[in-house]
Each structure stands twice: as C-alpha cells, then as structure tokens.
Subunit: 446 residues, 2 copies
C-alpha cells in the first residue's frame, strides 16, 4: 500500500508538472514575434491561455486562430494538441498497467480474461497506442483532403486536413476557419468524417484494444462494455432531445432534411468533448443548452482524448444508485459486480468536481458580466466547457476579465489532467499510515 | 438483514403513503366552498398544489394565501404545516430508534456515550420531541404577539402570531401578509424572532437532545458536532458572500445600517429552508441568486423541519473528499472516523438528487417559458426551491403550466419525504438476498 501510494504519486506529479512544463514552453513559443501575424499582438496571458487550451485540448480561444497566428504559430498549436492528446493517453496506459500489476500482486482480482494485456510488455503497449492513434489521424486527414483539396488547393488543403484531423481525433476543437465548422453545416461528408474521428478519439485505448482483439478473444472487458453502452445511450438520448428541443433547427431554414439530420447527430456527438460547432450555440433553446451542459460534464471514456467526469463514471453510478434504491446488495452489469473501491472513487469524483465547479462559477458570477438576453447559463456553460475540455462557448470567453481568464485556465487544466492527479500532486498526498485509528461513529444522512 | 429491510420498508411505506393520504385529505378540505373567499375559485390542481406545499412545508404558492383562503382555509393550511413538520420529525425519531436498535444488536457500533438515548423509551422520546416543538412554537408565538398586537389588534394578532410561529418553526414559509416579510424588513425584532424559530426548527431532535442534556453528559454526539459546525460555517459564509454580492442591498436605500445587517443575516438563514423573504429575490445579483441556490440544495439538519440534502451530508462529504485527496485512509472529525456505510449513503444521496433534479429541470425547460431578463436560473431556482422545500421563487411558480405544476409537486414531495424513503416505497425494495454473487471487476474512473 505504502509503495503503491508512492509510485502513484510520482506518476501524478510527473503528469502534472510535465503538462505545466509543456504549457510554459508553448506559451514562450507563442509569444515569439514569428508566431503572431502582422498588426496583431500577443500578451502573456493570451499566449498562456492559448497554450493551455491547446495542450489541454479544450479549444476555447481568446483570439481567432485562423487570423491571429502565423503558420509557425498554428504548427505550435497543432503540436500542443497532439502532445496533449497522445501524452495523456500514454500516461493513462502507464498508470493503468502499474495499477493492474499492483492489483494482480495483492488481490488477484484481475484475471487474464478481463484484461487481455498480459502478453504485451509495457513499452509495446505504449508504442501500440501511439501508432494506432497516428494511423487513425492519418486516415482521417486523407479523407478530409478529398474535400479540402478542391476547396483550398494543394498546400492549404494538406495543412488544413492534418490540422483538423488532429484537432478532431484529439477532441481539441481548434479550427482554422474562424467560425468552427459553421460553413460546413451543409457538407455532410466533412461532418461525418469529423464525427468518426471524434468518436474514435473518445474511445480510449482499452476500448480500442478490446475491439481490435475481439476476433481472437471473443470477449469484451467490463470497462469496454460499460463505456460503449453508456456512450451509445447518451448519443441516442441527445439526438432525441435535440430533435425535439431545436425542432430540427428551426432557426436555420437552409439545408435539406438530411443535412439537418447530420447536424443533429453532430450536435449530439460534439459535446463529448470535441467542441466543433456547426450551429451558433447562443441560438439554441434553453433545453438544448442545458442538455449540452450535461453532456459536456459527462464527457467521454477514461484513457481517451475526451474530458469530463467520463461515461464509465456516470454509467457505474446510475447502476449503483439503482441497485441501492432497489435494496440490492451488489451493483451488477454484464454478469459482474463493481468493486466497492471503484464505486467509492466514482462517487467522490463527482462530488469533488461539483465543489470545484461550484466555487469557480461563484467567483465568475462576481467577476464577469452577463449580457442582456442571457442568464446564469452564460457563465455555467463556459465553466463546464472548460472543465469538460469541450470548448464550446456562448460568448463569455471573448470577454473574460483577467481573473476570469485565470479561472478558466485552471478549470481547463484540472479538467484535462484529472482531479485526482492534480490534487494528489498539489497536496503532496503521501502519508505514512497512522499507527492508530479513531473509533467509528455514524451521523444521520438525508 | 432480512428483517431489518422488512421493517425499514414498512416504515418508508407508512411515511410515504401517510403523507399522500394527508395531502389528499387537505386537498379535499381546501376544495370545499368554505375554504375559498368570495369571488375566488379553487381548482383541483390549485388545492392539490397548496396542500402539498403546506404538508411538505415548502411554501411555494399559486395563489395569495392571505386573500384567496378564508379563515377556515388558513386553519387547514396551518394544520397541514404542523402535521408535516412534526410528523416528519416524529417519524425520523422512530426510524432512528429502530436503526439504532438494529445496529446495537448486530454490530455493537453505537455506544451509550455516542447517543445518550438509551435511558428513554420509544414513546417517551416521541412525546418529548412533540412537547419541545410545541413549547418552542408557543414561546415564538408569544414573542411575535408583542409586535403583532399593536399592529393588528387582539384576534388578528393572536391568529397571525400562531400562524407565523408555526410557519417559521416548521420552515414552511407560508405567510398571511401577501408579500412574505417584505413589509417587516425594517422591523429587526420580528426578523430576529422568526430567524431564531427557523434555526430552532432546522436543528432536529438529536441536536436538541444533545444540547439540552449537555449539562449532564458534557458530551456532544458526532452528529451534533458536525451539524452545528457545518451549519455555522454555511451561515457565516453566506453572510460574507451576501455582504459583498448585494453590496449591503444597494437596491434598497431605505433602512439603517443595522436594519440592513439584520436583513443580510436573515438572507443567510432563510434558504435553510424557511422560505420567508424580506427582499425581492429577482432583484438580487447573479452571485446572490447562485449562492442562495447552493444553500437551498444543502438545507438543514436531518430529522428536523428543514429540507435539502442536509448539512451533515455536505459536511461529511467535504471531510471525506479532503481525506481521499490527501491520500488518508480515514475521514475523521472530532476524534471519530465515519463509517464506510455512512459515507456511501451520503455520496449516493447527492448523486440521486442530482439525477432527479436534472431530469426535472430538463423537462421544465421544455414546458415553461423564461421571461425576458432571466436565463436558466429562473427554472433551476424554482426546482431547487421545491426540492429543498425552501419555497423562495424568482416568479416561475405563479406562471407554471399544468405539467410544470405536477413536476414541482413531485419535487416538493420527494424533497420532503426523502429520496430513500420515496424510492424504497415506490420500488418496493425488499428482495431476498440472492444465493450467488457475480465476480468483481473494476472499470477506469476519472
Ligand atoms: K475540446
Ligand atoms: K419552506
């Protein structure tokens, strides 16, 4: 236990301070004169915000990415996204492998069947994760090039294809068109390619592995089953709700029914947590905005490029709550029961996320101004978009005060690196277990 | 375990269906012609809504209590509040005593020291709770009469004193002045008496007992310590925040500094979960509205007349989360550690509350209209006021659609009777434990 805590803490610290270092390097590079186009200036805070947003693959921007940054600046942003997306996936693989070994040594809970990783070494798994990610992004870029070449010509076409394939797979949400994908809303081909890249990125390496090895193993782990089930339920639910709430985009009369269908599907997928938009979110109905917030809070699968509290967390808690309310002893799914530690971790995560968001939002209501026509959602949406690393905006980000920018930067960082990882590092949570324990006592609840 | 589940379920069912029966009787009585003043009419839905609001001591109203109801109608509402407030406290005593016995029998976890109830029989405790409550209300009414007699004369003075003492102690929030306590905002005496009644009611019987027996025992239970600590932290925090956010009521230039101070204190106390107001909530700043929502969600102490997820729940979870993030094994407070079951129950309660509120709010965004000048807070505030049985309103309740009314009724009921109690009853959660258990497996979280 002692040793486990130590190792876990070192990994947490490595990730936290690794990310901070990369962001600082990115900030310096973005502040170089060759990063900014003529006539524009980049303040320290703008560079810091942009580097954080790119490295934490959030996608919130203070300046127009297409116009403000030079080719060099755009390459820096692209590299920050790629390092952020792949770096995090790789780290999760390492942490997972380490935890699995610890579990296998101490409790023998995880069998070969449930993980299918035993025959691969640590290095080969990391290599495998990175190769697979690069291949998917390359195929995505090639598919985008088919559409972008006629539009933008060869060199711009190649650049745009690579940039947006990376941005989509990493769930980053940065774009070079100045208005996200709004000009592609009647181009179902691009939207479908981008959607597939987003979903592929938000799966995470465990799901990918299970899917790719399924022809051999004929087995999916509990993690994969739960992630896929929760993910599809959410997408279907989102489609139904957006179909009703936006009445099939009543505010946009152009486009065929098929185009609108694709836009609705895109709208159900993008809050987990890609951040590309095809419709202006400030024109959505209150129900549409609220449900988007819920989707941003939930996010994607752990160990993927997606943010949020994660689909598995929500799926597990729904199953567990239902079991508790039904008076059942075990929370069961797919002929397995969840471990107590697992449930505990999920519940604590949700509570801590709520506290952090609550404090951030209250500070923002003090420092920021809500424009006419908006209410509380204007601030809450932005905080969730940052914490969930989704990066959609109702408009606040462009008008943030200095304190507001710093809070959004902090939310992006905690949201991406993870509450547990950041807190373990900051609080230096490595304590020798005390030699005594207090007696137990209960309080009344609920 | 089997027997425990059975007994627990019977108690839950008794409470759920007991409350429903009382509400239905109240609805019928309020529909009688002698309940409604001349010129007004009471629809079934209005009577049902009012009876639910009174019995669940929420205080949200569709009609002006002072003008719409006759003396007879007002007495019915008063009785519904008293039965709701005391009935619930009494039930909690019974449930608590039963659980204590079960625990004492099975695990010997609770010692005489930690509860101080062992020397009292079940009946005498219930009698004690009811007597104490009635005495406090009577003293409160007498204190209010000092102010109300000169204002309203003898008979009206007596009636108003009793009605508002009950409404305050039961944290009900009904008033006979037509605009809550706004006309008393420059009358610190009334505000202070009402505040003390609110706090007294929101303590709950365990805290009362500990405090009253302290001269003998020199000991406070963990429950009492945690409830008092969390409660005072919240009130002080609320005062600081409201002082800043409302800049000492900049929108109200009348009144001395002392009056404004009393109003700020009142504003910090009333969301837990009394529902009396001295300032129009729709004039508050966004920060003030948001923090009021947080206070309504938290509410008071379990086993009291207050609603919400309860101070002990929040206090326990803050301590537990901090311990988890610090890497400590135990969540400790006052030289005790909380039981795992206790923490688990608290975490699940918060998650289920969020899911229920989330679903209710999404439906309300579909059915209700947000007026100009407001945003999402207009709907969320009302849902929290109903669920937390606080009963403050930004204005939605008066304009609710039929579906909206039914949802608010459901929220008031679940919020008062309790998520666990209602769900256990509805789902008939009594299952023989299965003879087998599935193997354990973990998923990735966060
Ligand atoms: K994003
Ligand atoms: K109330």
């Amino acid at each position: 236990m002692q040793r486990y805590a130590h190792r876990h803490l070192s990994l947490s610290k490595t990730l936290t301070f690794g990310f901070i270092s990369i962001i600082l390097v990115g900030t310096i590079l973005l502040m170089l004169p060759i990063s900014t186009t003529g006539g524009n200036e980049t303040s320290l805070l703008t560079a810091f915000f942009t580097a954080t947003s790119a490295n934490c693959i959030t996608g919130l921007t203070l300046v127009n990415t297409a116009l403000h940054w030079t080719f060099f600046g755009k390459v820096i942003i692209m590299l920050l996204m790629e390092v952020g997306g792949l770096g995090f996936m790789t780290f999760t693989v390492l942490l997972f492998l380490f935890m699995r070994r610890k579990l296998a040594l101490t409790t023998q809970l995880l069998t070969k069947e449930s993980l299918n990783l035993n025959n691969l070494s640590q290095v080969s798994i990391v290599r495998w994760v990175i190769s697979l990610s690069l291949i998917i992004q390359l195929v995505g870029a090639a598919l985008l090039f088919v559409d972008f070449y006629p539009r933008f010509g060869l060199s711009k076409g190649i650049g745009y294809s690579i940039f947006h394939a990376i941005s989509a797979f990493c769930n980053a949400g940065f774009d070079l068109f100045g208005n996200s994908l709004i000009s592609f809303r009647n181009d179902p081909y691009v939207l479908i390619v981008i959607s597939i890249l987003i979903i592929a990125g938000s799966f995470g390496f465990l799901v990918w592995q299970d899917l790719l090895l399924y022809h051999k193993t004929k087995h999916l782990s509990l993690h994969t089953k739960l992630a896929l089930r929760t993910g599809s339920v959410l997408i279907i639910l989102a489609m139904i709700i957006f179909f009703i709430s936006e009445r099939n985009f009543h505010f946009d009369q152009s486009g065929s029914f098929f185009d609108r269908l694709v836009n609705t599907i895109f709208m159900a997928i993008t809050p987990r947590t890609a951040g590309f938009v095809t419709v202006p979110y400030n024109k959505l109905s209150m129900a549409g905005i609220l449900f988007t917030m819920a989707l941003m809070f939930i996010g994607g699968t752990p160990g993927s490029t997606a943010g949020g509290i994660k689909t598995t967390t929500v799926g597990l808690l729904v199953i567990q709550s239902w079991a508790t309310l039904r008076g059942n002893r075990d929370a069961e799914f797919g002929h397995r029961r969840f471990t107590q530690e697992n449930i505990f971790r999920a519940l604590t995560l949700v509570f801590v996320a709520l506290v952090i968001l609550g404090v951030a939002i209250i500070i923002l209501t003090f420092t920021e101004t809500v424009p006419k026509g908006f209410g509380l959602e204007y601030i809450v949406f932005e905080a969730l978009a940052a914490f969930g690393t989704t990066g959609i905006s109702l408009g606040l980000t462009a008008h943030l005060t200095v304190i507001g920018k710093l809070i959004i930067i902090a939310l992006m960082f905690i949201g991406r690196v993870g509450i547990y990882t950041v807190m373990f590092s900051i609080l230096n949570s490595e304590h020798p277990a005390k030699g005594y324990r207090y007696p137990e006592e209960s309080v009344l609840i609920g």
